[in-house]
Symmetry: C2
Subunit: 192 residues, 2 copies
Protein backbone atom coordinates (compact mmCIF):
# COMPACT_ATOMS: atom_id res chain seq x y z
CA UNK A 1 0.00 0.00 0.00
CA UNK A 2 1.25 3.45 -0.96
CA UNK A 3 1.40 6.80 0.72
CA UNK A 4 -1.64 7.79 2.78
CA UNK A 5 -3.56 11.06 2.87
CA UNK A 6 -2.18 13.75 5.15
CA UNK A 7 -5.62 15.11 5.93
CA UNK A 8 -8.96 13.89 7.20
CA UNK A 9 -11.78 14.43 4.73
CA UNK A 10 -14.36 15.21 7.40
CA UNK A 11 -12.05 17.73 9.03
CA UNK A 12 -11.36 19.66 5.85
CA UNK A 13 -15.05 19.58 4.90
CA UNK A 14 -15.85 21.33 8.16
CA UNK A 15 -13.63 24.15 7.01
CA UNK A 16 -15.41 24.18 3.66
CA UNK A 17 -18.74 24.52 5.45
CA UNK A 18 -17.54 27.78 6.98
CA UNK A 19 -16.54 29.16 3.60
CA UNK A 20 -19.77 28.26 1.78
CA UNK A 21 -21.79 29.48 4.76
CA UNK A 22 -20.09 32.83 4.60
CA UNK A 23 -19.88 33.49 0.86
CA UNK A 24 -22.43 31.19 -0.76
CA UNK A 25 -21.77 28.78 -3.58
CA UNK A 26 -21.12 31.20 -6.42
CA UNK A 27 -19.14 33.52 -4.15
CA UNK A 28 -16.71 30.79 -3.12
CA UNK A 29 -13.66 30.05 -5.25
CA UNK A 30 -11.55 26.93 -5.35
CA UNK A 31 -8.59 29.09 -4.36
CA UNK A 32 -10.31 30.14 -1.16
CA UNK A 33 -11.35 26.57 -0.42
CA UNK A 34 -7.75 25.54 -1.00
CA UNK A 35 -6.55 28.13 1.48
CA UNK A 36 -9.17 27.56 4.18
CA UNK A 37 -9.30 23.78 3.91
CA UNK A 38 -5.52 23.67 4.13
CA UNK A 39 -5.09 21.28 1.22
CA UNK A 40 -4.28 22.08 -2.37
CA UNK A 41 -6.41 21.84 -5.44
CA UNK A 42 -5.19 18.42 -6.44
CA UNK A 43 -6.32 17.03 -3.10
CA UNK A 44 -9.67 18.78 -3.30
CA UNK A 45 -10.39 17.33 -6.72
CA UNK A 46 -9.10 13.86 -5.90
CA UNK A 47 -11.21 13.67 -2.73
CA UNK A 48 -14.40 15.42 -3.84
CA UNK A 49 -14.35 15.49 -7.62
CA UNK A 50 -15.53 19.03 -8.20
CA UNK A 51 -16.56 22.24 -6.52
CA UNK A 52 -20.13 20.96 -6.41
CA UNK A 53 -18.87 17.74 -4.86
CA UNK A 54 -17.30 19.73 -2.04
CA UNK A 55 -20.53 21.67 -1.64
CA UNK A 56 -22.71 18.56 -1.39
CA UNK A 57 -20.42 17.07 1.25
CA UNK A 58 -20.48 20.40 3.07
CA UNK A 59 -24.29 20.39 3.12
CA UNK A 60 -24.33 16.84 4.50
CA UNK A 61 -21.80 17.77 7.16
CA UNK A 62 -23.76 20.89 8.09
CA UNK A 63 -26.97 18.92 8.47
CA UNK A 64 -25.31 16.41 10.77
CA UNK A 65 -23.82 19.15 12.91
CA UNK A 66 -27.11 21.00 13.22
CA UNK A 67 -28.74 17.76 14.28
CA UNK A 68 -26.07 16.98 16.86
CA UNK A 69 -25.59 20.45 18.28
CA UNK A 70 -28.57 22.65 17.60
CA UNK A 71 -31.41 20.17 17.65
CA UNK A 72 -30.20 18.04 20.53
CA UNK A 73 -32.24 19.91 23.15
CA UNK A 74 -35.35 19.52 21.04
CA UNK A 75 -34.63 15.84 20.41
CA UNK A 76 -34.27 15.29 24.14
CA UNK A 77 -37.29 17.40 25.01
CA UNK A 78 -40.09 15.74 26.94
CA UNK A 79 -42.65 17.90 25.22
CA UNK A 80 -42.54 21.34 26.78
CA UNK A 81 -43.47 24.15 24.41
CA UNK A 82 -40.92 26.22 26.27
CA UNK A 83 -38.23 24.09 24.64
CA UNK A 84 -39.44 25.23 21.23
CA UNK A 85 -39.33 28.83 22.31
CA UNK A 86 -35.81 28.32 23.60
CA UNK A 87 -34.79 26.80 20.28
CA UNK A 88 -36.10 29.80 18.34
CA UNK A 89 -34.45 32.24 20.70
CA UNK A 90 -31.18 30.35 20.65
CA UNK A 91 -31.19 30.54 16.87
CA UNK A 92 -31.74 34.30 16.87
CA UNK A 93 -29.10 34.76 19.53
CA UNK A 94 -26.62 32.65 17.61
CA UNK A 95 -27.02 34.80 14.52
CA UNK A 96 -27.05 38.15 16.28
CA UNK A 97 -24.17 37.38 18.61
CA UNK A 98 -21.94 36.62 15.65
CA UNK A 99 -21.47 32.94 16.45
CA UNK A 100 -23.33 31.99 13.27
CA UNK A 101 -23.67 35.40 11.62
CA UNK A 102 -24.67 33.90 8.30
CA UNK A 103 -27.85 32.29 9.56
CA UNK A 104 -28.79 28.90 8.17
CA UNK A 105 -26.69 27.46 5.35
CA UNK A 106 -29.67 25.48 4.09
CA UNK A 107 -31.93 28.51 3.96
CA UNK A 108 -29.18 30.52 2.29
CA UNK A 109 -28.80 27.79 -0.29
CA UNK A 110 -32.55 27.59 -0.86
CA UNK A 111 -32.55 31.26 -1.83
CA UNK A 112 -29.75 30.61 -4.29
CA UNK A 113 -31.66 27.71 -5.79
CA UNK A 114 -31.47 28.53 -9.47
CA UNK A 115 -27.71 28.26 -9.57
CA UNK A 116 -27.79 24.77 -8.17
CA UNK A 117 -29.29 21.54 -9.32
CA UNK A 118 -31.47 18.65 -8.36
CA UNK A 119 -28.95 17.00 -6.04
CA UNK A 120 -28.76 20.18 -3.99
CA UNK A 121 -32.52 20.49 -3.84
CA UNK A 122 -32.78 16.93 -2.53
CA UNK A 123 -30.43 17.78 0.34
CA UNK A 124 -32.50 20.86 1.18
CA UNK A 125 -35.71 18.87 1.19
CA UNK A 126 -34.19 16.24 3.48
CA UNK A 127 -33.06 18.95 5.87
CA UNK A 128 -36.46 20.57 6.04
CA UNK A 129 -38.07 17.17 6.55
CA UNK A 130 -35.74 16.58 9.48
CA UNK A 131 -36.66 19.88 11.06
CA UNK A 132 -40.36 19.24 10.57
CA UNK A 133 -40.05 15.76 12.08
CA UNK A 134 -38.26 17.12 15.15
CA UNK A 135 -40.98 19.71 15.72
CA UNK A 136 -43.64 17.06 15.21
CA UNK A 137 -42.10 14.84 17.86
CA UNK A 138 -42.00 17.60 20.46
CA UNK A 139 -45.56 18.62 19.62
CA UNK A 140 -46.73 15.02 19.97
CA UNK A 141 -45.25 14.84 23.44
CA UNK A 142 -46.67 18.26 24.29
CA UNK A 143 -50.13 17.06 23.34
CA UNK A 144 -49.70 13.94 25.44
CA UNK A 145 -48.70 15.95 28.48
CA UNK A 146 -51.58 18.39 28.03
CA UNK A 147 -49.71 21.50 26.91
CA UNK A 148 -51.67 21.36 23.68
CA UNK A 149 -55.37 20.66 23.39
CA UNK A 150 -56.48 17.20 22.24
CA UNK A 151 -57.88 18.86 19.11
CA UNK A 152 -54.58 20.49 18.14
CA UNK A 153 -53.50 19.71 14.57
CA UNK A 154 -49.89 19.00 15.40
CA UNK A 155 -48.81 18.19 11.87
CA UNK A 156 -50.10 21.58 10.81
CA UNK A 157 -48.27 23.16 13.71
CA UNK A 158 -45.04 21.42 12.72
CA UNK A 159 -45.21 22.86 9.21
CA UNK A 160 -45.98 26.23 10.72
CA UNK A 161 -42.96 26.12 13.03
CA UNK A 162 -40.79 25.10 10.11
CA UNK A 163 -41.94 28.16 8.18
CA UNK A 164 -41.42 30.46 11.15
CA UNK A 165 -37.92 29.10 11.72
CA UNK A 166 -37.03 29.88 8.13
CA UNK A 167 -38.56 33.32 8.56
CA UNK A 168 -36.14 33.86 11.41
CA UNK A 169 -33.31 32.69 9.17
CA UNK A 170 -34.03 35.67 6.92
CA UNK A 171 -35.06 38.33 9.39
CA UNK A 172 -32.45 37.60 12.06
CA UNK A 173 -29.89 39.13 9.73
CA UNK A 174 -31.73 42.39 9.17
CA UNK A 175 -34.36 43.20 11.79
CA UNK A 176 -33.94 44.63 15.28
CA UNK A 177 -33.98 42.43 18.36
CA UNK A 178 -37.36 43.76 19.48
CA UNK A 179 -38.93 42.86 16.16
CA UNK A 180 -37.56 39.34 16.39
CA UNK A 181 -38.90 39.03 19.94
CA UNK A 182 -42.33 40.09 18.65
CA UNK A 183 -42.12 37.45 15.94
CA UNK A 184 -41.26 34.68 18.37
CA UNK A 185 -43.86 35.78 20.91
CA UNK A 186 -46.74 35.60 18.44
CA UNK A 187 -45.37 32.43 16.90
CA UNK A 188 -45.51 30.68 20.26
CA UNK A 189 -48.87 32.17 21.20
CA UNK A 190 -50.39 30.51 18.15
CA UNK A 191 -49.76 27.05 19.62
CA UNK A 192 -52.65 26.01 21.82
Amino acid sequence: MPRQKQYDEEAVIEKAVQVFWKHGYAGTSIRELESKMGINQFSIYSSFGSKKGVFLRALANYKRRVKEIFLSDLLNSDGRLEDIRKFLEAFVDSVRSGRTPNGCLMANTAMDLDTHDQEVKVQLTLFFELLQAVFLEVLTKAKARGELSPQANINQYANYLLGCTEGLAVTAKVLEKEQLEDFIAVTMAALK
Copy 2:
Protein backbone atom coordinates in the same frame (compact mmCIF):
# COMPACT_ATOMS: atom_id res chain seq x y z
CA MET B 1 -26.28 68.95 -27.66
CA PRO B 2 -24.76 65.71 -28.89
CA ARG B 3 -26.07 62.30 -29.61
CA GLN B 4 -28.69 60.98 -27.20
CA LYS B 5 -28.96 57.56 -25.51
CA GLN B 6 -30.66 54.86 -27.51
CA TYR B 7 -32.09 53.20 -24.41
CA ASP B 8 -34.15 54.08 -21.37
CA GLU B 9 -32.33 53.51 -18.09
CA GLU B 10 -35.44 52.38 -16.25
CA ALA B 11 -36.33 49.94 -19.00
CA VAL B 12 -32.94 48.26 -19.06
CA ILE B 13 -32.84 48.12 -15.25
CA GLU B 14 -36.06 46.12 -15.31
CA LYS B 15 -34.23 43.54 -17.38
CA ALA B 16 -31.36 43.59 -14.89
CA VAL B 17 -33.82 42.89 -12.07
CA GLN B 18 -34.80 39.65 -13.77
CA VAL B 19 -31.19 38.54 -14.08
CA PHE B 20 -30.21 39.30 -10.47
CA TRP B 21 -33.46 37.78 -9.27
CA LYS B 22 -32.67 34.57 -11.10
CA HIS B 23 -28.94 34.16 -10.48
CA GLY B 24 -28.11 36.33 -7.49
CA TYR B 25 -25.40 38.96 -7.36
CA ALA B 26 -22.31 36.75 -7.50
CA GLY B 27 -23.91 34.47 -10.08
CA THR B 28 -24.58 37.31 -12.50
CA SER B 29 -21.88 38.39 -14.94
CA ILE B 30 -21.54 41.67 -16.77
CA ARG B 31 -21.70 39.69 -20.01
CA GLU B 32 -25.10 38.33 -19.11
CA LEU B 33 -26.31 41.75 -18.05
CA GLU B 34 -25.05 43.10 -21.37
CA SER B 35 -26.99 40.46 -23.24
CA LYS B 36 -30.25 40.66 -21.26
CA MET B 37 -30.29 44.43 -20.85
CA GLY B 38 -29.67 44.80 -24.57
CA ILE B 39 -26.93 47.39 -24.20
CA ASN B 40 -23.20 46.86 -24.23
CA GLN B 41 -20.71 47.15 -21.44
CA PHE B 42 -19.71 50.69 -22.20
CA SER B 43 -23.32 51.80 -21.79
CA ILE B 44 -23.74 49.82 -18.57
CA TYR B 45 -20.68 51.43 -17.01
CA SER B 46 -21.44 54.93 -18.26
CA SER B 47 -25.00 54.76 -16.91
CA PHE B 48 -24.51 52.84 -13.67
CA GLY B 49 -20.82 52.99 -12.88
CA SER B 50 -20.26 49.40 -11.78
CA LYS B 51 -21.88 46.02 -11.35
CA LYS B 52 -22.88 47.03 -7.83
CA GLY B 53 -24.34 50.23 -9.22
CA VAL B 54 -26.58 48.21 -11.50
CA PHE B 55 -27.54 46.01 -8.55
CA LEU B 56 -28.51 48.91 -6.31
CA ARG B 57 -30.66 50.41 -9.06
CA ALA B 58 -32.21 46.99 -9.60
CA LEU B 59 -33.09 46.72 -5.89
CA ALA B 60 -34.71 50.17 -5.97
CA ASN B 61 -36.68 49.27 -9.07
CA TYR B 62 -37.77 45.96 -7.58
CA LYS B 63 -39.01 47.66 -4.42
CA ARG B 64 -41.05 50.14 -6.42
CA ARG B 65 -42.60 47.39 -8.51
CA VAL B 66 -43.50 45.29 -5.48
CA LYS B 67 -45.14 48.33 -3.95
CA GLU B 68 -47.11 49.14 -7.08
CA ILE B 69 -48.13 45.65 -8.08
CA PHE B 70 -47.96 43.27 -5.14
CA LEU B 71 -48.83 45.53 -2.25
CA SER B 72 -51.54 47.56 -3.95
CA ASP B 73 -54.39 45.39 -2.69
CA LEU B 74 -53.06 45.66 0.86
CA LEU B 75 -52.57 49.41 0.52
CA ASN B 76 -56.17 49.76 -0.65
CA SER B 77 -57.51 47.38 1.98
CA ASP B 78 -60.14 48.69 4.37
CA GLY B 79 -58.87 46.44 7.11
CA ARG B 80 -60.11 42.93 6.43
CA LEU B 81 -57.77 40.22 7.70
CA GLU B 82 -58.86 38.22 4.68
CA ASP B 83 -56.84 40.67 2.56
CA ILE B 84 -53.70 39.66 4.44
CA ARG B 85 -54.45 36.00 3.87
CA LYS B 86 -54.96 36.69 0.17
CA PHE B 87 -51.62 38.49 0.03
CA LEU B 88 -49.80 35.52 1.56
CA GLU B 89 -51.54 33.08 -0.73
CA ALA B 90 -50.91 35.22 -3.78
CA PHE B 91 -47.21 35.25 -2.93
CA VAL B 92 -47.06 31.48 -2.61
CA ASP B 93 -49.02 31.05 -5.81
CA SER B 94 -46.78 33.47 -7.66
CA VAL B 95 -43.69 31.48 -6.69
CA ARG B 96 -45.15 28.04 -7.27
CA SER B 97 -46.85 28.88 -10.55
CA GLY B 98 -43.54 29.99 -12.00
CA ARG B 99 -44.49 33.64 -12.42
CA THR B 100 -41.88 34.64 -9.85
CA PRO B 101 -40.10 31.32 -9.33
CA ASN B 102 -37.20 32.92 -7.52
CA GLY B 103 -39.25 34.22 -4.62
CA CYS B 104 -38.37 37.61 -3.18
CA LEU B 105 -35.28 39.37 -4.51
CA MET B 106 -34.87 41.19 -1.19
CA ALA B 107 -35.00 38.00 0.86
CA ASN B 108 -32.61 36.31 -1.56
CA THR B 109 -30.23 39.22 -1.18
CA ALA B 110 -30.53 39.16 2.60
CA MET B 111 -29.31 35.56 2.59
CA ASP B 112 -26.36 36.60 0.48
CA LEU B 113 -25.52 39.43 2.83
CA ASP B 114 -21.86 38.84 3.44
CA THR B 115 -20.93 39.38 -0.17
CA HIS B 116 -22.56 42.77 -0.21
CA ASP B 117 -22.04 45.92 1.71
CA GLN B 118 -23.66 48.58 3.78
CA GLU B 119 -25.49 50.27 0.91
CA VAL B 120 -27.19 47.00 0.06
CA LYS B 121 -28.16 46.41 3.67
CA VAL B 122 -29.76 49.84 3.83
CA GLN B 123 -31.97 49.00 0.86
CA LEU B 124 -33.01 45.74 2.50
CA THR B 125 -33.89 47.48 5.74
CA LEU B 126 -35.96 50.07 3.90
CA PHE B 127 -37.83 47.31 2.09
CA PHE B 128 -38.63 45.43 5.27
CA GLU B 129 -39.74 48.66 6.92
CA LEU B 130 -42.12 49.25 4.02
CA LEU B 131 -43.62 45.79 4.37
CA GLN B 132 -44.00 46.18 8.12
CA ALA B 133 -45.67 49.56 7.68
CA VAL B 134 -48.16 48.18 5.16
CA PHE B 135 -49.11 45.36 7.52
CA LEU B 136 -49.42 47.82 10.39
CA GLU B 137 -51.82 49.99 8.43
CA VAL B 138 -54.10 47.09 7.57
CA LEU B 139 -54.01 45.85 11.16
CA THR B 140 -54.88 49.32 12.44
CA LYS B 141 -57.94 49.40 10.23
CA ALA B 142 -58.83 45.83 11.21
CA LYS B 143 -58.76 46.81 14.86
CA ALA B 144 -60.94 49.82 14.16
CA ARG B 145 -63.53 47.72 12.38
CA GLY B 146 -63.54 45.08 15.12
CA GLU B 147 -61.81 42.20 13.37
CA LEU B 148 -59.11 42.39 16.01
CA SER B 149 -59.71 42.84 19.72
CA PRO B 150 -59.09 46.27 21.27
CA GLN B 151 -56.22 44.69 23.23
CA ALA B 152 -54.43 43.38 20.15
CA ASN B 153 -50.79 44.45 19.95
CA ILE B 154 -50.83 45.38 16.30
CA ASN B 155 -47.24 46.50 16.10
CA GLN B 156 -46.22 43.08 17.39
CA TYR B 157 -48.51 41.48 14.84
CA ALA B 158 -46.96 43.53 12.04
CA ASN B 159 -43.48 42.29 12.91
CA TYR B 160 -44.86 38.79 13.11
CA LEU B 161 -46.44 38.98 9.66
CA LEU B 162 -43.20 40.35 8.28
CA GLY B 163 -41.36 37.33 9.64
CA CYS B 164 -43.94 34.90 8.32
CA THR B 165 -43.82 36.49 4.87
CA GLU B 166 -40.07 36.01 4.75
CA GLY B 167 -40.57 32.45 5.96
CA LEU B 168 -42.76 31.92 2.92
CA ALA B 169 -40.05 33.43 0.75
CA VAL B 170 -37.80 30.55 1.78
CA THR B 171 -40.21 27.68 2.07
CA ALA B 172 -42.29 28.42 -1.04
CA LYS B 173 -39.34 27.24 -3.09
CA VAL B 174 -38.95 23.91 -1.36
CA LEU B 175 -42.02 22.73 0.55
CA GLU B 176 -45.22 21.12 -0.75
CA LYS B 177 -48.38 23.12 -1.28
CA GLU B 178 -50.12 21.47 1.68
CA GLN B 179 -47.32 22.45 4.02
CA LEU B 180 -47.50 26.04 2.85
CA GLU B 181 -51.26 26.03 3.37
CA ASP B 182 -50.70 24.79 6.92
CA PHE B 183 -48.23 27.58 7.50
CA ILE B 184 -50.60 30.27 6.27
CA ALA B 185 -53.57 28.82 8.16
CA VAL B 186 -51.82 28.93 11.54
CA THR B 187 -50.24 32.29 10.74
CA MET B 188 -53.68 33.81 10.22
CA ALA B 189 -55.23 32.01 13.20
CA ALA B 190 -52.73 33.74 15.46
CA LEU B 191 -54.30 37.13 14.73
CA LYS B 192 -57.14 37.83 17.11
